[in-house]
Symmetry: C2
Subunit: 164 residues, 2 copies
């Protein structure tokens, strides 16, 4: 991890982010983004305007992963952040996901959020569940059959939460 | 209820919908819409484009209540509907909320949704909780302190769900 840097997204990072994003969406096993999403769709989904923040993990010129945080709800619920994370399939096992998760908790705290919530953690995504539990999240709810997993069929979404 | 009709929203219904919407948002005790929302904001929040549906309960020319249903998530999660409901403060106790709720379940079923989910039922909103339980919803999760209730301070959001 010594050579990996986490910094705010810059326009030149997009091709690397899109490569990761596309592979995640097409797999259809961790996010409910439409698998047929175009690059234009992906930009609209991921590069949200402020107060959202988009960050990348890079090693030299290579984007290894990315995350975004944004208010989970508007108005009288905007003190809770939502986070979304993607890591390159070629980078798994190097701790980049964990580093992004920890970084996002600091970023959310610094931005004044009181808590972080995930609305749709796929129940079959055991790596994600293990990571989020290790970072202090608990499952606060479960949506039965909320996700049409592209290999397993209907599976649950877990809602996870932690105070900051 | 004999004189109350539930039908699709028409442009001429907007002043009546806005009157209800504004009073609900300003009260800040059942929805997290920004209390300072303008009429333009409200249109953008409530009059969502298809596949969302917006309905009104009317008695003659008077709008008594309104609801909308829309996919709760996109892509691989869009088989679950989300519903939002508002009833005029002057109409409470006449069963309009219940009629809208029942109507929305039929509308969601007809549109092919497999389930209905509410993401943010305010824990202090006992009338809503009683109604949704009566209509077959259960609490599947709770977001602690998710809502800045304008009279009570921080209270929980419940997530409610039922299959259709």
């Amino acid at each position: 991890m010594a050579s990996v840097e986490i910094r705010p997204f810059e326009p030149g990072d997009w091709p690397g982010v899109w490569r990761i994003w596309e592979s995640v969406a097409i797999a259809g096993d961790t996010y409910d983004y439409p698998p047929e999403s175009t690059e234009v769709d992906a930009r609209a989904y991921w590069l949200l305007p402020p107060p959202a923040q988009v960050w990348v993990a890079v090693e030299g010129d290579t984007v290894l992963g990315t995350y975004k945080i944004a208010p989970n709800r508007h108005g009288l619920g905007d003190h809770v952040a939502n986070g979304s994370y993607m890591v390159s399939p070629h980078t798994r096992g190097r701790g980049v996901g964990r580093a992004l998760g920890e970084h996002s908790l600091d970023a959310a705290r610094a931005a004044g959020y009181a808590a972080m919530q995930f609305n749709a953690v796929v129940s079959a995504n055991t790596n994600a569940l293990r990571l989020w539990r290790a970072l202090g999240f608990i499952i606060v709810g479960t949506i039965p059959n909320g996700f049409r997993h592209q290999r397993l069929g209907l599976v649950d979404f877990h809602i996870m939460h932690r105070f900051l």
